[in-house]
Structures are given as structure tokens and as C-alpha cells.
């Protein structure tokens, strides 16, 4: 109980800190690296929650594939220093106030309002393993799984079309 708690608190602190780092850092590269750290922390949290397959997929897909793609794009476009000053004076203030309000609402729901959450039972053996996930994925969710492949194909084609070289014709 207590080691779990300590581990969670540590992980939570790292996750929030890295997220804030992502949010606040000047450079896009630092933001990306902060985000990688955040994703890794969250992956450990997944393990903690009995989802080893998802945790590994998280590291592979997010930290491995997506964030690398981000870094490539950042390097491709160059790290741009944006102009200071915003065209929207109230934007930042309103956003922070709304965010705090959302957090307050969440806190109210979770901690103050009496909630009847079911007692968490210990994890069964084999819960969340690749075998179990594969079992349910290829039986119950076969059709969405196949549709996912189409989705990925479309995304690939869309990316190629969007970034592909245009004919000079569009200049006109």
C-alpha cells in the first residue's frame, strides 16, 4: 500500500512537472523532450494500473514514433522565436481562470461529493497481457480493428498529399 502510494506520488509529481515544462518552455525542442518524459511516466502509471501491453504500446507509439515525428518536424521547420505580445489580451487570463474552474469542479466531484466507487479488487492473473488484449481485440473488436487500418491508410495518403510538392500552377 505505502510503496505504491510513494511510487504514485513520485510519478504524479514527475508527470505534472514535465507537463508544465512542456507548457512553459520557450523552445519547442524542450517542450518535446518534456513531453517524452511525460509519456514515459504515464506508461509507468499504466503498468501500475495493470495494463502492461498498453504501457509498452505507449512507449513504442508515443515516445518512439510520434515524438520522433514531432522532433523531425521541429527540426525541419527550424526553431522559430515568435514575436512577443499577444493580439488577445484577455486570452491568457480567461484560459487560466477557466482551467482552475475545471480543476475545482473535478476536485469537487472526486473528493467532496460523496462518491460510491466500487472497491478495487486485486488484479487477476493475466489481466491486460498481450494475449488477453489480442483475445478481445480479434474477437469482439475485429471490425473496428480492421477499420483502423483504413484510417491509418487514409492518414498516410492525406499526409503525402498535403506535404507533396505542388505544381507551380497554384502560384497563380
Amino acid at each position: 500500500m505505502i510503496p505504491d502510494m510513494i511510487l504514485f506520488i513520485l510519478l504524479a509529481i514527475v508527470a505534472v512537472t514535465s507537463a508544465l515544462g512542456m507548457l512553459l518552455s520557450r523552445s519547442a525542442v524542450y517542450s518535446a523532450l518534456n513531453l517524452v518524459l511525460n509519456f514515459g511516466t504515464v506508461a509507468v502509471l499504466y503498468l501500475l494500473l495493470g495494463a502492461p501491453f498498453i504501457a509498452l504500446a505507449q512507449i513504442t507509439v508515443y515516445a518512439g514514433a510520434i515524438m520522433v515525428l514531432f522532433l523531425f518536424v521541429i527540426m525541419l521547420l527550424g526553431v522559430e522565436q515568435l514575436r512577443k505580445g499577444s493580439a488577445l489580451p484577455w486570452q491568457q487570463t480567461l484560459a487560466i481562470i477557466s482551467g482552475l474552474l475545471l480543476l475545482a469542479l473535478t476536485a469537487y466531484v472526486i473528493f467532496i461529493r460523496p462518491m460510491t466507487l466500487p472497491q478495487v479488487s486485486p488484479t487477476q492473473l493475466g489481466f491486460g497481457t498481450p494475449g488477453a488484449i489480442g483475445e478481445i481485440l480479434f474477437n469482439k473488436y475485429l471490425l473496428p480493428f480492421e477499420v483502423t487500418s483504413v484510417l491509418l491508410l487514409v492518414a498516410m495518403i492525406g499526409a503525402i498529399v498535403l506535404t507533396g510538392k505542388r505544381e507551380p500552377k497554384t502560384k497563380t
Binding site: A87, L88, Q91, L94, A95, S98, L101, L102, L105, Y108, V109, R113
Partner: protein
């Protein structure tokens, strides 16, 4: 040989009957289309040939009727089919219709031939030779229409002919439409004839409507078969039909009260007067009553009315004829009078006598008119000749510039200058007055005999009319032909050419011998018509009546001789300013004036009918239509009101309300948009913030509610 074949083959010849209509139609079509390029002679002879061929067909029909006297109905085509009503265009071939065909085509042909000569001169005196063609087109059209009238097998087809001859009459009365009083006199005469006929035709149409309502058919045979049954069920219907038909007859056959158009109809060329207004068309009424004998026999009270109308007309018109000076007007009133005889005869049920008189009258009245035309032509010739001859110009005085070639006071002594015309005229006059053994005597005597048996009142009226007939004819003969010429043209008049005199001689022969049709001993005509009209009684010859009428006629002629043979000649010696124009004037005084003015019937009609009608029409047109309807109701109420309404609608409603609302709406939308466009910053973060605030608010509401 051919004729014997016709006699034996009989009914086949009945199918020739459409040709009696077709030939004149062909004639008129050819003359209409090609007349402009044909010579006058060709036009005239073509039209005459068309009429002549019709006559030949009628003769063939007559011959085949000798062996098949029951006749036939020859249907040609379905004419009108409306629901139950089915009207054929069919021809009735029986002894009655063929008699009419023979008269119409026979007399018509002679008058056509006569017209070739007469119109040749007439169109030149009147100054428009181009109308020669039109004259013969109208004449052929008349023959065709008259044939349709007499050959119809139903009342509706008869009505087509009835209207058609009325149209031809109108066209030919107004033939010289630019002549006459004030340049419109002839046109007015034509209009008068047309309107008077229209009043009569209206009666005929109403009769036809009632007939359709009661009988459901127009065919002669069907109607006559049903008639007795209908008469027992709705006696009033038969009375109404026959009375309304009588209205039609008074219009077409110029009976009281609608006779006034016929004297004015003399405005037409003289052959027209002879053919249409003496021999044929005006007798259509007599034919109609004879044809409808089966109906009239059922209603004796109506027959009585018909007889009295006829007899009264006979007497009334005969009195007027005494006071006329126009040679054609005298004959016109004589025609009305004789038509009165016929109508009276058919009204009394003496159909044979009526038809007999119709036939003989067609001969001698056509003859009289045509001879009068010859006289008029002679005088016009002489007058025309003198006007253009400087040597003869000296004796002419002012009066001669307005020379009227139809005025009998300008005539006199013509018997020496126009011998043929004189003799045929004399024959016609004797036939008309009824001196035996000429045609008029036999037919008139038969009418009088029937009248003596059936209707004493009509008998005495007609006897008086016969007396007057003899008197005015004697007066006319003496004024026109005897004594000394009373004008220069009369002194120099010449006989007309043979194309005019030959038809006169033929007609004179017919007028002289026509009485042989129905001599009291044999009753040929009676038996002939019996095949069409059922059993007819034959009037027995009465020596008493014949003697009385002959005595009256001779007495009248003697009286006429006293007045016009001796006294009139003696009066010529008096100086012109003291000389009365007629020996009767000093004797009868104002009565003669009344006769001369036709008893002021025209003036009476003007006073009691036409003037009020015209005033009413003026009132309706000026006050009701123009001022009330047009000025007030239309202009003020409708147009003004509409204008006001549109003004209110356009200015107050449209501009003030609708446009204002629309404009305010648009303006406010524009203003609101101008204010609200600030919200649209175009920054995607801004929109996302709106989402987020919305999400927080909604979540807050859901959680905290």
C-alpha cells in the same frame, strides 16, 4: 323516250333533288371566282343556266312524281347531333315542294334571262357597271336558298333557307346602297326589310323552340304524326307554335302588322322586285302554313286568326294601292293584297286555293313587275337620251332634271310606243283583276268560294279587296298606257330589246293559261296536292260567286275608266297650278291623302314603336351606359377607387409598412452585425477558448445543479 323512262323509273329521280340546290351554288361560286374576268353576257347566261338546270331537275322530279305521287325523303348527311336530337340535312320530295321548286326555278329562270338585258342598262344608268357580276351572284344565291327552303324535310333546314332568302332580299334591296333619299335611302330600305323580317323570324325561332320542347324533333313527317297526340295532351303548345309561326309569316309574307317593309323593298332593281318581292320569297309564308297544314288543322281558332289577318291585309293594302303614284309601289301594295288572299285561303284550310293562287300570282305578278321594269327602262332610256342630246335640250324645264321614271304621272300614252310591253302588261293586269278566263280569275274565285263557305267576314273583306284590285289596276293601266304622254321622256320612249320582251311573252302566256291547272271540272291541282297534304276538299264552282266577283271587277274597271279614262284626260287641259294630280283627290279629299300616305302606318310605327325605342336607346346609351356606367361606375367608382386603393397600398402600406419593416430589419441586422463582428477575431485559440468556457459552464451546471 327519255321522259317515259323518267316516268317509269320514278324514285331514282328523287335522288337528283340535291341538284336543285347544287346548280345555283355552282353558278354563284363560278361567278364569284371568275366573274371578274368574264363578259357580262357570260355572267348572265351562266347564272341563267344554273337556274335553268335547277328547273330541269324540278321538272324531272315532277315527272317522276306522276307515277310515284307519294314522294320521298332523301337524307343527305347528318347535320346536327346533340344528345337525343338528330337532325338530317334531308330533302323532302313531294308534290307540294316540287310545285314550289317548279315555280321558283321556272319564274326564276325567266327573270334571270330578263335581268341580262335589264341590268345591262340599269347598271349604266346608275353609274356602276361593276355591280353586274354581284347582282347575278346574289340572284343565284337566292335561288339556292329558296330551294333549300322549299325542299327542306325539317323545320330547322327550312329556317336556314328562310334566313338565307331574307339575307338575299336584304342584299338586293340595298343593291344600289348609295342611291335613294339622302344617299342612304336604299340602304335604309334594306335595313327596314331586314329588321321587320327579323321580328317575324324571332316568332319562327320561338315556334321551333316550343316544337323541340314538345315534339323533340323537327322533321315534318315525325311532327305531323305526333301532332294529334300532342294536341290532345298540350293543346296550348300547338296554339303557341302555330301563332308564333304566323308571326314569322307576317314578317316574310308582308302581312299586317309587319307588311311595311315590302313597299320600301321596291328600292331594289326591278327583277329583284319581281322575283323576290312578288313571285317567290314573299310566298314562303304561304308555303310554310301549307306545309304545316297538319298542325293548323288541329287549331281552328288560330286558323280563324290567320284567315282574318290575311283578309284584312288584302283589303287594307288594296286601299293603299289606290292612292299610289309610283308604278312599282302600286304593284307592291297589290302584292301585299294578293298575299293576303293567299294567307286568308290557307288560314281557312283552303290550301289548294292558296297554293293555286300562289302559282298564278307568281306568273302574273312577275309579269307585271317585269313589264313595269320595261316601262321604267324605256323612260330612263328616253330621259338619258334627251339629257345628252343638245337638240332636244331646249324643251326641258327644271322639273325634268329630277325626273322620276317610276312616277305614273310622268307616263301616259305609252301603248303606241311600247306595243309588246303594253299587251303583256294588259294580260297581266287582267289576270290579276280576275276576269275570266285568265289565271287570276280561277285562283281568286276558288279562294272566294272557300271563303264564302268557311268565313263570311273574310269573304266580304276579300270581295271588297277584289273590287279595289280591279279599280287600281284599271287606274294604273289607264294612267300608264292610255291618254296623252305627260312628259317628254314618255313621248320618246322606245320598246325594250327582245331579251327583255321574250321572257315577258312567255310569262304572259303562263299568266293567261295558268288557270288551266285547276279548272273546276277536273281539279288537277287538287289531286296533285292531295298526295302531300292528305285529303282535300275541292271547292265547287259557284256561278253565283263567280258572277258577283266578275260583276264587281267589271264595275270597278268601268269606274276607273270614268275617272281616269275621261276625267283625267279632261283635267290635263286645266292650267298646271289648278290641276289636281289625281281625279280622286277632289272626290275623296283627305281620305285620298290618307291613302297616298299609306294610312300613315309608317308614321304610326315611328311614333309608337321606333321613336320611343330610339329614345330609349339614346337614354340607355347616353345616360345609363355612358354617364352612369362608363363615367360614374367605371371611371369614378372602379378606376377611381382602384387608383385610390393602389395609392393607399403603394404609399401607405407598401412604402410605409412593408418596405419600412424590411428596411428596418435589414438595417438592424446590419447594425447588429457591425457590433457583433468584433467577436469574430479569426484566431483559432480564441474560438477554442469559447469552447472551453462553454464546456466548463455546462459541466458546472451538470455537476452543481
Amino acid at each position: 323516250m327519255w321522259l317515259s323512262e323518267a316516268v317509269s323509273s320514278g324514285p331514282q329521280f328523287f335522288y337528283l333533288v340535291p341538284l336543285v340546290v347544287l346548280f345555283p351554288v355552282i353558278g354563284l361560286l363560278v361567278n364569284t371566282a371568275f366573274g371578274g374576268r368574264m363578259s357580262e353576257k357570260a355572267i348572265g347566261w351562266l347564272a341563267s343556266a344554273a337556274a335553268g338546270l335547277s328547273f330541269v331537275v324540278a321538272v324531272l322530279l315532277g315527272i317522276s312524281l306522276l307515277s310515284y305521287p307519294e314522294g320521298a325523303v332523301v337524307p343527305i348527311v347528318d347535320w346536327i347531333t346533340i344528345g337525343e336530337l338528330n337532325i338530317n340535312w334531308g330533302f323532302q320530295v313531294d308534290t307540294l315542294s316540287v310545285t314550289m321548286m317548279l315555280v321558283v326555278a321556272g319564274v326564276g329562270t325567266l327573270i334571270h334571262i330578263y335581268s341580262i338585258g335589264y341590268m345591262h342598262d340599269d347598271v349604266r344608268f346608275q353609274g356602276d357597271p361593276g355591280r353586274y357580276q354581284r347582282f347575278f351572284v346574289f340572284m343565284n344565291l337566292f335561288i339556292a336558298m329558296m330551294m333549300i327552303l322549299v325542299s327542306a324535310d325539317n323545320y330547322l333546314m327550312l329556317f336556314v333557307g328562310w334566313e338565307g332568302v331574307g339575307l338575299c332580299s336584304y342584299l338586293l334591296i340595298g343593291f344600289w346602297y348609295d342611291k335613294g333619299e339622302n344617299g342612304i335611302g336604299n340602304a335604309v330600305a334594306g335595313k327596314k326589310a331586314f329588321i321587320a323580317n327579323r321580328i317575324g323570324d324571332f316568332g319562327f325561332i320561338l315556334a321551333a323552340f316550343i316544337m323541340f320542347w314538345v315534339f323533340g324533333t323537327f322533321e315534318f313527317n315525325a311532327v305531323f304524326e305526333l301532332a294529334p297526340e300532342v294536341a290532345s295532351l298540350f293543346p296550348a303548345a300547338i296554339v303557341a307554335i302555330t301563332l308564333l309561326m304566323l308571326v314569322g309569316v307576317t314578317g316574310k309574307s308582308a302581312q299586317i302588322p309587319l307588311f311595311v317593309w315590302l313597299p320600301d323593298a321596291m328600292a331594289g332593281p326591278t327583277p329583284v322586285s319581281a322575283l323576290i318581292h312578288a313571285a317567290t320569297m314573299v310566298t314562303a309564308g304561304v308555303y310554310l302554313i301549307t306545309r304545316s297544314a297538319a298542325l293548323y288543322n288541329l287549331v281552328p281558332q288560330v286558323q280563324n286568326i290567320v284567315a282574318l289577318v290575311g283578309a284584312a291585309t288584302a283589303l287594307f293594302a288594296a286601299t293603299i294601292a289606290v292612292g299610289q303614284f309610283d308604278i312599282k309601289k302600286v304593284l307592291a301594295y297589290s302584292t301585299i293584297s294578293q298575299l293576303g288572299f293567299m294567307v286568308a285561303a290557307v288560314g281557312m284550310g283552303a290550301y289548294v286555293a292558296g297554293m293555286f293562287h300562289l302559282v298564278t300570282h307568281a306568273f302574273f305578278k312577275a309579269l307585271l313587275f317585269l313589264s313595269a321594269g320595261s316601262v321604267i327602262l324605256g323612260l330612263e332610256h328616253a330621259h338619258h337620251h334627251m339629257e345628252h342630246n343638245s337638240q332636244l335640250k331646249l324643251p326641258m324645264d327644271e322639273n325634268d332634271l329630277h325626273f322620276d321614271p317610276q312616277d305614273m304621272r310622268n307616263m301616259g300614252g305609252l301603248r303606241n310606243r311600247m306595243k309588246i310591253s303594253f299587251w303583256v302588261y294588259l294580260i297581266g293586269a287582267i289576270a290579276l283583276t280576275g276576269i275570266p278566263p285568265l289565271a287570276g280569275f280561277w285562283s281568286k274565285d276558288e279562294i272566294l268560294t272557300d271563303a264564302a263557305n268557311f268565313n263570311p267576314l273574310a269573304y266580304w273583306m276579300m270581295l271588297a279587296a277584289a273590287f279595289l284590285t280591279a279599280f287600281y289596276m284599271g287606274r294604273q293601266i289607264l294612267m300608264v298606257w292610255f291618254g296623252k304622254p305627260r312628259s317628254l321622256p314618255a313621248e320618246h320612249a322606245n320598246e325594250s330589246p327582245p331579251i327583255i320582251t321574250v321572257p315577258l311573252i312567255i310569262l304572259a302566256a303562263l299568266a293567261a293559261t295558268g288557270g288551266a291547272l285547276n279548272l273546276p271540272m277536273w281539279h288537277t291541282f287538287t289531286h296533285w296536292l292531295e298526295d302531300s297534304l292528305g285529303h282535300l276538299h275541292a271547292a265547287e264552282f259557284s256561278l253565283q260567286i263567280a258572277g258577283l266577283s266578275s260583276f264587281l271587277v267589271l264595275a270597278a274597271i268601268f269606274l276607273a275608266w270614268l275617272l281616269y279614262g275621261r276625267k283625267y284626260q279632261a283635267m290635263q287641259e286645266l292650267p298646271p297650278d289648278k290641276r289636281p294630280d289625281d281625279p280622286l283627290r277632289p272626290i275623296l279629299g283627305p281620305v285620298f291623302n290618307a291613302l297616298n300616305h299609306k294610312w300613315w302606318v309608317d308614321e304610326l310605327y315611328w311614333t309608337i314603336i321606333i321613336n320611343p325605342y330610339v329614345s330609349l336607346a339614346h337614354f340607355l346609351a347616353d345616360v345609363v351606359d355612358w354617364r352612369f356606367w362608363h363615367d360614374w361606375f367605371h371611371d369614378t367608382v372602379i378606376v377611381g377607387g382602384y387608383n385610390k386603393l393602389t395609392q393607399v397600398l403603394s404609399i401607405q402600406i407598401d412604402l410605409g409598412v412593408i418596405d419600412a419593416v424590411a428596411n428596418k430589419l435589414g438595417d438592424s441586422v446590419k447594425r447588429a452585425a457591425a457590433k457583433w463582428r468584433v467577436i469574430e477575431t479569426g484566431y483559432v485559440r480564441n474560438y477554442a477558448l469559447s469552447f472551453f468556457i462553454g464546456v466548463v459552464l455546462i459541466l458546472g451546471y451538470l455537476i452543481l445543479r
